[in-house]
Symmetry: C2
Subunit: 202 residues, 2 copies
């Protein structure tokens, strides 16, 4: 969380450092990224890092918040527009297209942080779990609209279908990143949508 008392310039500087630290952590992992690396990449001083983040733990927490906001912002926006099966397929297509643009690299920033940090730090785990829960809500909103417009059976278990979908996203992104091939994400998402459609009415 950005302290509310910060000036606009302070917020901009802090945001620039967080974005650069997030990029380093995507590349090298949280444990592989030192405060000195972040200082060098952002041309900032030790006292600036201390002022904005306190210590490395505070910086990693800021990176988790940043990645959650970026990923969840994009996902919530894309899922908010889902009203029928074609929209849902377009949403899946856009994830596959993103992985293709990155030539299979990157995976999910939240998933990568969760894999590295969920077992090492309880505060980080909770923040990453909150991010997954926000993602679940966004998927749940889309599925509820499908249900309310009569495309998905009224008695479909949305919680289960949400979990199936989010697991397919995370598993598919990890397999795509490891194979450098978006096909495995494509298949995982198609599989989750096929399973949704077994509860479909139209």
């Amino acid at each position: 969380m950005t302290p509310p008392s910060m000036t606009d310039q302070g917020r901009a500087t802090r945001g620039r450092i967080v974005a650069a630290a997030a990029a380093l952590i995507v590349e090298r992992g949280a444990a592989g990224t030192s405060l000195d690396d972040v200082r060098a990449a952002t041309d900032s001083s030790k006292s600036q890092l201390y002022h904005y983040f306190g210590d490395k733990h505070g910086l990693v927490q800021a990176v988790i918040d940043h990645q959650s906001a970026v990923v969840l912002g994009a996902q919530a926006q894309a899922l908010d527009g889902v009203c029928d099966w074609r929209d849902l397929e377009r949403w899946a297509d856009s994830m596959v297209a993103m992985v293709e643009r990155q030539r299979g690299r990157g995976g999910c920033p939240i998933g990568t942080l969760a894999a590295a940090l969920a077992d090492t730090d309880e505060q980080f785990r909770t923040a990453l779990n909150d991010a997954f829960n926000s993602w679940r809500e966004a998927i749940g909103g889309a599925l509820a609209r499908l249900r309310d417009s009569g495309l998905l059976a009224a008695d479909a278990d949305l919680e289960q279908l949400i979990t199936t979908m989010l697991a397919a996203i995370q598993g598919g992104l990890l397999l795509a990143k490891t194979s450098r091939d978006s096909t495995q994400l494509r298949i995982a998402l198609d599989g989750a949508i096929a399973q949704l459609r077994t509860h479909g009415i139209l």
Copy 2:
């Protein structure tokens, strides 16, 4: 790979160091584990680590090989016994039970290494992709037996079903680890099996 010229005692020492390094890396990640950490945990010397692994890269490669052998050994054995739907469900149950024993912690050692290393080192990525491919083969063997005994339709696309299953395993384990709750793995695996069953004959 263990050098073939090594004595039995050498192999035992090397194996002990690799197992301890693997445990440290599960806990702290590869980037967060130094050669000094490994030396301290195994009461070994710098020259021993140099002799067996060359450098940290060689040690991480040995840990990848070790985790692949452990996970794939267990998975290949469990999947080799799968001849019908009940066997497949028992295999899924055993993964959920493992996560429950670990109280949700740990995730998949291969998946965690892949999330951290696939984008940072091409040799590691290839080794981890090989591990996933071996896992795919083991799942494929089980599905082929279901098909050959008439439980799965002859025209079922096994490659797609394998990917759906492995993505459900990886996504489900990551969500279980982040939520500290095996339920999300349970649901992801049940979803993948339900999808298999849509191609089922009995």
